[in-house]
C-alpha cells in the first residue's frame, strides 16, 4: 500500500477520533454515570452505594413529577403539531414567488435569533392580564375581554406553547422552504399537465416529497421541547404553583436545590428513555427506508 493510500485510509479516522472521544466521554460516559447515581442513595453529593429502584419509586410518588410528565406530553404534542403546520403553511405561501420574499423570510425567522430567556420574559409581560394583551384590548374599549391563562394553573402550560410556537415557527418554515425549493419543478409541471389542481399537487406530490425536511424538523423540535428549560423558567418559573413544571426544571430543582441528586438522576434517566422510545424507532424506520430506496 502506498503512503498516499495509507494516508487516505487513516486521515479521516485520525481527524474524527478526538470528537469521537469527546462524545464518548461527555455524552455516553455521563449517561452511564447518571444511571448509576439514579440507583444510589445520593443526596447532596454523589454516593456510590446501591439502593435498587428506590429513587424511581420516590420519583413516581412525587405529584410534581406527574405534573411534569403530563406537561411534557401536552407541550410536545401541541408544540410540534402547531409549529409544523404553521411553518409548512407559511413556507408554502412564501414559495408562491411573492415580492420581498427575502424580507418576509427574515421577519419570520427573526424570533429564532432570540434566546428563550428573552422570549419568555417578553411573553410573561404580554400575557400578564394587568400589563399586556388583556389590558391593551380592555383600554381599546372591549372591556369584557379576558385573557388570563397565565394566572390559571390549568391553562398556563398553553402559554408556554404559545411562546414556543412563536419562537420556532420561522425556523420550521425555513427548513420547509429549503425543502420546497429543492423539489424538481418538472414534477410539478408533469402533475399540472395531468390536470391536478394546486392544492392536490401540494397534498399528494409536494408534501410527501418533503419527508427529509419533516424528519429534521421533528427531530429538532422534539429535542427543543424536551430540553425546554429556560423558556419555562423565564415565562412562568414553573408556576403558578407548580403547574408548568417540566421534567427538565424538575430535574434541576431536585439535583441542585433540594439535595435529591438520586431523584434528579432518576428523572434524567426517565427523560432519556422517553426520548429514546420516540426518536429511536422513528430514526430507525426513516433511515432504513432511506437505505432501501437507494
Amino acid at each position: 500500500m502506498s503512503l498516499k493510500n495509507k494516508l487516505d485510509l487513516w486521515l479521516p479516522r485520525l481527524v474524527l477520533s478526538p470528537s469521537l472521544l469527546a462524545v464518548l466521554i461527555a455524552v455516553y460516559l455521563f449517561i452511564v454515570w447518571t444511571a448509576w447515581i439514579s440507583l444510589s442513595s445520593s443526596q447532596m453529593v454523589p454516593k456510590f452505594d446501591f439502593v435498587g429502584l428506590e429513587q424511581y419509586v420516590r420519583l413516581w410518588s412525587t405529584p410534581r413529577w406527574h405534573t411534569a410528565v403530563a406537561n411534557l406530553f401536552i407541550f410536545t404534542t401541541l408544540f410540534l403539531a402547531i409549529t409544523i403546520s404553521l411553518g409548512l403553511f407559511l413556507a408554502i405561501l412564501l414559495d408562491q414567488k411573492v415580492r420581498a420574499e427575502g424580507f418576509l423570510r427574515a421577519v419570520y425567522l427573526y424570533p429564532m435569533a432570540l434566546s428563550f430567556i428573552v422570549t419568555g420574559t417578553a411573553w410573561k409581560w404580554i400575557l400578564n392580564p394587568t400589563l399586556g394583551l388583556q389590558k391593551v384590548v380592555n383600554e381599546l374599549g372591549w372591556t369584557g375581554f379576558v385573557f388570563d391563562w397565565i394566572t390559571q394553573p390549568s391553562f398556563a402550560i398553553y402559554c408556554v406553547v404559545i411562546a414556543a410556537v412563536w419562537q420556532s415557527t420561522g425556523f420550521a418554515m425555513a427548513i420547509f422552504l429549503a425543502g420546497l425549493r429543492a423539489i424538481d419543478t418538472s414534477i410539478i409541471k408533469a402533475a399540472q399537465i395531468e390536470g391536478a389542481s394546486l392544492p392536490r399537487i401540494y397534498v399528494s406530490v409536494i408534501v410527501p416529497m418533503l419527508r427529509p425536511a419533516f424528519l429534521s424538523v421533528i427531530v429538532l423540535l422534539s429535542y427543543i421541547s424536551i430540553k425546554s428549560f429556560d423558556l419555562v423558567l423565564a415565562l412562568t418559573n414553573a408556576g403558578p404553583g407548580s403547574a408548568t413544571e417540566m421534567p427538565s426544571t424538575f430535574m434541576f430543582a431536585a439535583t441542585f436545590r433540594r439535595n435529591q441528586m438520586g431523584v434528579g438522576a432518576a428523572s434524567a434517566i426517565m427523560m432519556l428513555m422517553t426520548v429514546a422510545a420516540i426518536i429511536v424507532p422513528y430514526l430507525y424506520s426513516e433511515l432504513r427506508e432511506d437505505r432501501n430506496a437507494h
Binding site: T62, P129, S242
Partner: protein
Amino acid sequence: MKLTTILAASIAFMPVAALAESKGKVEGIHHWVSESEVKALKVVTDKLASKGYTWQDSAVGGLSGANALQALRTRLAAGNPPATMQFLGYEGLDWGKQGVLRSLNELYTKNGWDKALAPQLLSFVKNGDDFISVPINMHRQNWLWANKAAFDKAGVKEPKSWDELIANGDKLRAAGVIPLAMGDESWQILEVFEAILVDVNGPEFYKKAVVDLDEGTLSSPEMIATFDKLRKVRALVDDGFTGRDWAVATGMVADGKAAMQVMGDWAKGEFLAKGLKPGVDFLCFPTPTDKPNFKFVIDAFGMFKVDDAVTTAGQDAWAESIMDPEVQKQFNLFKGSIPARSDVPVDSFDDCAKRSYADREAAVKNGAMLGGLTDGFAAQPQFAGVFTDVVGKFFVTDMSSKDAVQALVDGINNAR
C-alpha cells in the same frame, strides 16, 4: 460559571507586583451582587486588607445561591476549593458533614465568639463539636411592611392578629388600594404561610411541624385551619400577581398602590432607596400575633480545608474580619439586617432594625427564636421543597385545605 472561571484565572495570572504588599489572598464564593450587598461586602474586604490580605472575589449570582453551589461542587470535584464561601441554611452543615470544612474551634475559643451569638443560631454554625462557619448578619423574615398614607386613608392601624389583618382588607380595598402585594412565586407564598403558621399556633407547634416534621402535627386540625387562613389571605391579593418579583411587590407598597407586604427585612432597602423614611412614609411591624416570635435568616462564611499555611492564615484573618464588631455594624447598616453578634449595639440603626434587635433579645429569652422555613433555616431542602410545592399550589388553585394537608403529609413521607 464560565465567566467566573475566566475572571478567577485572569486574577490568578495577574503580575506578582500587584500583590507584592499582600501577605496572601483569600478567595471567596458568594452571591451578593446587588448594589447594597456589594457595598456591604466591601466593609469586610477592607478590614481584610487592613490585616494584609487581598480579597479575591468570585461572585456567582442568581437563583438564591443555587448557581454558587453548583460552582462550588465543580471546584470541590476538581480539588480546588475556594478559601471561603457564603452559606445559607443547612448548606454549611451539609458541607461540614462531607468533611470539607475546617474546624474554627480555636478561633471561637480564643475570641469568645460563641458567647456573642444567640444559642439558637449556634446550631447553624456548628457541626457536631466543630464550629464550621462565622455569621455576619441576621435578617428577620416575619416582617409586615405597610404604606403609612394608605393605612391613614383607610383608617386602619397595625393589626394585632391575622383575622384583623384580613378584616382590614375590605377597608383598604374601599380606599382604593390593593390590600396585600405579593407575587405568585411559591417561595413568596410560603413566607406568608409560615408566618400564619407560627403566629396563630405558636413557636412550639412551628418547631414540631417544620423542624421535627412530626406527622401528627402536620395532619392536625390546626394545620387545616392554617391553610383556611391562607385561603382568606388570597382574597387580599390582586390578579396581576403572576410572575411578580418580590421587589416589584415592595415597590407597589412604596408607591401606595398596595398597602402591605409580608417579606423579610431585605425589603427595607427598596423603601430606603426611594428616599422613604421608616415611621413617616412606611411602617414596619412584625406579622401580627399574640405569641411574639423572631424568624431569623443568617449569612455565614465557612472555610474550606486547604493544605497551604498562607491560605489558612488568610482564612483566620477573614473570620476575624467578619466577627469584628465594628465590621458587623457597618456591614449591616448597608445590608439592612442586624449584626449576627448579639453584643453589637444598634444605636445608629433605623427604627425597624432597633425593633428587630429588641425583639430578638426577647425571643432568645422566650425560646421564640426560630429559623425561617422559606430561606432554609427550618427543614432540610428536600422537605422545605414539599412545603413550597403544596403551599404554592394551594394558593393558586382551589385545592381544599384538607387535600393540602394530605399532600403535605404524603410529600414529606415520600421525601424522608
